[in-house]
């Protein structure tokens, strides 16, 4: 099948969605599909690049530019270019990764006799992410909409009631297996790790407050960067834990498994409704016990008491208590880590994710096929 992934950014721009689309494309190629990815332009890179597993087509117009405000007609030109591209490529299925304007452009210019469109919603709409009206427009125009967690489906239904006549399909994200085999968990280890974009939504301040409640030998590695970092550094000083925190800064995604391997416990203290929870899966892949908040899609990834521990959001004491429980019961921590590794392998492998999408693609194509 010739599959076209339609997204906003793609590599070498780096983000969770970019990595996901790349790994899904690789899995689909391994399954015998022809995979194309259409993404926003990157200065200095060609419009067309062919890689072993997929071909990247970069659009001429950057949807992030202000051109659309300067000249509203550019929206029509973008849609026209998208329609022409679709006619040339003739994909059998278009997989749109919901991303605002590029998604809209794709749907506006959609040829009448073209391939069915599956939209995957990767994030919530209860914040200033996408215009609700436009998100509704995109969701209502797609042939099928998948969400990366059941909680995200519920959130979409709550915020945009009736946007879809049919239920959302839930396809839990897959994560490519790391090349690195996890090293054994150290008994009663005292290195905690939290990583991700350093923004208030991730709740890293709660990790700092929990650290202040834990024995003095406990250390926290905080990897990532973002606008909340200066505030966190000030909070660390205020709490008297600055010397126990390693603000690691930006870490390349390829280096994340090795980083996790150095930790004894991974924290995910999010306070926002995480649509999925990539960090939780990555911790599980490396056999590390996880303490996460019971928000968004996280309970769909973490089985409380079996593959990790879930605590209420905004509760540093509960976070600290969960860490202490793991530290004082190394056997329990090891069992959680081992179970998390099995669980992620079984439920969050990219092959499983690709197979789930293949089944949805097949359903869409069957629905389009002329009846005998």
């Amino acid at each position: 099948m010739r599959i076209l992934h339609w997204t906003d950014n793609f590599l070498p721009r780096i983000g969770g969605l970019e990595i996901f689309v790349r790994d899904l494309a690789r899995a689909q190629r391994a399954a015998g599909h022809e995979v194309h990815i259409c993404a926003s332009p990157v200065p200095g890179l060609p419009a067309l690049e062919t890689f072993p597993d997929y071909t990247v087509h970069r659009r001429a117009a950057d949807s992030r530019s202000d051109s659309i405000l300067a000249d509203p007609r550019s929206l029509g030109l973008m849609a026209r270019a998208g329609a022409d591209f679709r006619r040339r490529l003739r994909p059998e299925l278009v997989h749109v990764h919901l991303c605002g304007l590029p998604s809209l452009v794709e749907l506006i210019g959609r040829p009448a006799d073209s391939a069915p469109v599956l939209v995957t919603a990767h994030t919530t709409v209860d914040g200033p992410l996408l215009s609700p009206a436009l998100t509704r427009r995109i969701l209502s125009s797609a042939d099928l909409v998948a969400t990366v967690s059941a909680d995200l489906a519920a959130a979409l239904e709550a915020h945009l009631p009736g946007a879809r006549e049919r239920p959302y399909e839930v396809v839990l994200n897959g994560v490519a297996s790391p090349d690195l085999a996890p090293s054994p968990l150290r008994p009663a280890g005292d290195t905690l790790l939290a990583f991700g974009r350093v923004v208030p939504e991730k709740g890293f301040d709660l990790a700092l407050r929990a650290l202040a409640l834990l024995p003095a030998e406990t250390r926290l590695v905080l990897a990532g960067d973002g606008p909340a970092r200066p505030g966190l550094e000030a909070l660390a000083a205020e709490l008297g834990v600055a010397s126990r925190i390693d603000f690691r800064g930006w870490v390349h995604p390829d280096d994340v498994p090795a980083l996790i391997d150095t930790a004894d416990c991974v924290l995910m203290p999010s306070r926002w409704r995480e649509p999925f929870g990539l960090v939780a899966v990555q911790a599980g892949q490396m056999g590390r016990p996880l303490v996460a908040t019971r928000v968004g899609g996280l309970p769909e990834i973490v089985r409380d008491g079996e593959t990790g521990l879930l605590v209420p959001p905004e509760d540093p004491a509960a976070l600290a208590a969960a860490v202490l429980r793991l530290r004082t019961d190394p056997g329990f921590a090891a069992r959680l880590g081992a179970a998390a590794r099995r669980h992620t392998k079984e439920h969050f492998a990219m092959d499983r994710c690709a197979a789930d999408y293949s089944a949805l693609y097949a359903r869409l194509l069957r629905a389009r096929a002329p009846s005998a």
Binding site: R13, H122, A133, G224
Partner: protein
């Protein structure tokens, strides 16, 4: 007597796609989306057919109830003129012939859909949670190598 309309150029820019008409008011920056039966009705109107003629042609092409289509067409035209996307035009000297593309319409009548988005800024992605740029995510230092695909 049937009314005739034209696009309110140069204030309005319109692009006709297979499944949607994208009409943009260049003075306000408002973006209007016409879908379903609104697409062929728009095309017929701007090709010089009067409202009644356009409704009758579409009803015939799709095997739809002429009265239903006429009512829908009248309501759509009211919306389009209220938004100043279409303005009245002179009666043409000779009636246009029915266009060939009517025969290629997908069967089945679906009522016109007309949506208006009043802030072009809504079209731009504002995503503080998942924000990437060419320098990477979250803020890839200049020394870090690019990930090649």
């Amino acid at each position: 007597m049937s009314q005739f309309f034209r696009i309110n150029e140069p204030d309005v820019s319109a692009e006709v796609f297979d499944l949607e008409v994208l009409a943009i008011d260049l003075k306000t920056g408002h973006y209007h989306s016409l879908r379903q039966a609104a697409v062929p009705l728009w095309r017929l109107l701007v090709e010089g057919h009067g409202v009644d003629d356009a409704a009758a042609l579409l009803a015939k092409a799709l095997g739809a109830d002429p009265a239903l289509v006429r009512n829908d067409a009248a309501a759509l035209v009211a919306d389009l003129t209220a938004r100043s996307l279409l303005v009245p035009a002179a009666t043409p000297d000779s009636p246009p012939t029915p266009p060939g593309w009517l025969a290629n319409l997908a069967p089945g009548y679906q009522a016109p859909v007309f949506d208006t988005y009043t802030d072009m800024r809504d079209l731009l992605l504002i995503d503080p949670i998942h924000e990437v740029d060419v320098s990477g995510w979250p803020h890839q230092p200049a020394s870090a190598p690019d990930t090649t695909a």
